[in-house]
Symmetry: C2
């Protein structure tokens, strides 16, 4: 089960991991392509995941771990008990090309339900945490989210390519909103929503490590997170995701899934 | 003519204006719509322009001033002599909705040619300056720009709506690049390019106050700034604009203007 010693430890580990990433940006990075030139992995993605996995396995040997870089040992096939979901660097392309605008993300789940989430905006030294049932925090200061009531009073976050291709009718959201912003990192795009800079963040395809931490923080803030066709998320599966202020979620679902 | 007393004064004025904007975000803003709900003006746009115009008119009564909010007196119809181009808040929608991600911009021109530019990223306390023939600086520290050699090694900046509509064939740039980012503020998008976070920023329609400061800073950094059909910019006219690292400018122009 989640407890505050665990919370304390995660924060310490993330501070240490963030410091390593900051100093790595002063060295030459070893960059490899995964699928193509826009899908990169560096030694720092691997090192950071290895570091976090090592800590978790040491303190919590019976917990399961899902990680982007696959340094977690056995593949997780059921969600029972405690499951950690790790993205060591979310926005690796930004990390490499911008040396900015990336995050470390950790989501904690119990029997598939979100328990706590952590997003570290490394270059701003901003650690966002959410503990379900307790609240959400920026560097331990409570976040008081003013939730939007309508999409047309707000900005939205999403990937440029998704909007161009109109994947899953996402242009309908763009047209309704005051405007769209695109940062190239799910971590930073979720942060925009939990800070109230935007009312929703939509993506037509995220892996569990891309959405887990944000899912838990949003849950702690009484926001709504589902697939774009309004199904619950499964932390074992890649899927479309909407992170939404509570009162705009249904409006967004209606725009994305017109009945006619 | 431009001199370093002028440079000193502009920096002081911008510090003062930025401080006012930061503290205004703790109060309720008076927001008015211009064209529509996504085109806003606040009393702080007007106050900031009034403040800067007052200073310029006091110290440099024979200089011309172009400002977004039209608090500059007589309309400027020729570019001879010294012309100041002011955007008191670039990204007013972000200012209102995000309380973040906006800038103050000042461009200085002599006989229509860029002389110096200033972009203040207010919430990060980052003042970017460029003095043509001398260099560009972030908070007085020289910027050493590593210029990209090819669009396909880089990210690009641009408006989501422009890419969706494929205005002026801008999707060709999107397809060639590693990805696109969109921040909703020309100030911040130009900053991304002068920091090397992206190789180009393109827009199908900017007003003089949107491009003047960035034009001057890019010129100081030996980057290239033209219309999307490769014409020189005129600071009296709204136009399309590309801000590009020197060696990718021609590649971008070719993509935007295919000959077949």
């Amino acid at each position: 089960m989640f407890d505050y010693l665990m919370h304390h430890r995660i924060q310490m580990w993330l501070e240490q991991a963030a410091e390593e990433l900051q100093s790595a940006l002063n060295r030459d990075l070893i960059v490899e392509e995964k699928k193509d030139a826009s899908d990169l992995v560096t030694e720092m993605d691997k090192n950071t995941e290895k570091f976090l996995v090592g800590k978790i396995q040491h303190y919590y040997p019976d917990h399961k771990i899902i990680g982007e870089e696959g340094m977690t040992g056995e593949k997780v096939t059921d969600v029972s008990g405690m499951v950690w979901v790790i993205d060591p660097i979310d926005g690796t392309l930004n990390f490499v090309k911008q040396k900015n605008n990336f995050g470390i993300m950790v989501g904690l789940f119990y029997d598939g339900q979100p328990v706590a989430g952590y997003i570290y905006d490394v270059m701003n030294d901003h650690l966002f945490t959410g503990i379900v049932g307790e609240g959400a925090y920026l560097n331990n200061k409570p976040i008081e989210l003013e939730q939007y009531q309508a999409i047309n009073q707000s900005l939205v976050m999403g990937n440029v390519g998704m909007f161009i291709e109109n994947h899953m009718n996402t242009q309908a959201i763009f047209k309704e909103a005051l405007g769209a912003r695109s940062l190239g990192s799910a971590a930073l795009e979720v942060i925009s929503v939990i800070r109230g800079e935007a009312s929703i963040y939509i993506s037509h395809g995220l892996s569990p490590w891309d959405f887990a931490a944000g899912y838990a923080i949003c849950h702690a803030l009484d926001m709504k997170v589902t697939t774009l066709d309004n199904q619950p998320l499964n932390i074992l599966e890649r899927s479309s995701v909407i992170f939404a202020h509570k009162n705009v979620h249904q409006e967004a679902i209606n725009l994305l899934n017109p009945t006619e």
